[in-house]
Symmetry: C2
Subunit: 206 residues, 2 copies
């Protein structure tokens, strides 16, 4: 059955972007370092249309995430910040449903990514994403606001957090008061190279 | 050589207490759950003067921390909140240096714990704690304010964070803007039972 997953890199002090995310610097000041563990890996390179890269435990974790995702759900702010850097062949290679308040025609890109804009709410977007995912999973790509809405609504099945050794001090927090009490059951912890991959089964708010 | 360590349990959203810490509920609402992984363990029981308890990987990690600590450094708020529940035989079994603005006579307790009150600043307290620790280490016991001061001052050598599967939503954050940019190098990650133990070598602020 299709599951709904979150898979995201975070600083040790809880941020998924540095301060001041903006077009051209979508991860904010210093935020790109959150993904440094992944850049050098083979499946990251492959996902971005390039060859080479390191294999090993971190690459296995990353490849597993990519292979499970049959569709993505994304907030409008994240789309706006990242559309340009993603270019003509975005690294999803699957349908992406973008939550927005505007009606807009679907935007097909190269490599299997099509952005579909959903203006009638998160439940509708999730339903469409589940259908599009087939027997694979729906990945909540971000940003923080969409992730938190999904956690608070109890629609997330699994969450994997890649904890990086960074103290950013400010930026976009992944969790806030709206996610208080969401129940988490640890299912796996993998020590990587400069990162630890923590996986949880996610329940409702207690 | 004596090292300065931090060893503390944290929620996945970064809190070391729940909301509203107060006498009798020093860890705030829901905060005791941060230490649930430890309560059942043999070295926790032993440290609190009781017998029995589970052994295994988590117990090894906890025992290692206890065995390395030759002296403790603590803030006044933490002391005030916890003095009563700790009772006549506090779980330190070593000298504890309490940062305060008042002058006060040392307070010896049973089992090797003596609280010494230091009113001339954190550097003086650290110097005294280093001397008292002999060839063991100094453990920064808390609270958050003292830990952050030590991190920001670049005097911490090692930090171990026990990440628990809790989203508390509010309470006392371990890190804030004052700890932004402190350099961390992961040295160990151990998957426990309902907890992951992350260890870092700590450097200066970048």
């Amino acid at each position: 059955m299709t599951k709904v997953n979150i898979d995201i890199s975070i600083s040790l002090d809880g941020f998924i972007t540095g301060p001041n995310p903006r077009p051209g610097e979508g991860l904010g000041d210093g935020g790109a370092a959150l993904h440094e563990w992944a850049f050098k890996l083979r499946s990251f390179q492959e996902q971005h249309g390039r060859e080479g890269g390191e294999t090993g435990r971190d690459d296995d974790v990353l490849a597993e995430g990519f292979s499970k995702a049959g569709a993505f759900l994304m907030g409008r702010s994240m789309f706006d910040l990242a559309e340009e850097p993603w270019g003509e062949s975005p690294p999803f290679h699957a349908p992406v449903f973008v939550l927005t308040h505007e009606q807009r025609e679907p935007l097909p890109k190269q490599g299997g990514t099509t952005f579909t804009f959903v203006s009638d709410g998160i439940e509708s977007a999730l339903t469409q994403a589940r259908q599009a995912a087939g027997d694979k999973d729906v990945a909540i790509a971000g940003g923080a606001s969409v992730i938190r809405q999904c956690l608070a609504a109890g629609v997330v099945d699994e969450m994997q957090i890649h904890v990086t050794p960074l103290l950013l001090g400010s930026g976009t927090l992944l969790f806030d008061e709206s996610t208080a009490g969401v129940s988490l059951e640890p299912t796996r912890s993998i020590e990587g190279d400069g990162v630890t991959h923590l996986r949880y089964r996610v329940g409702d708010r207690g």
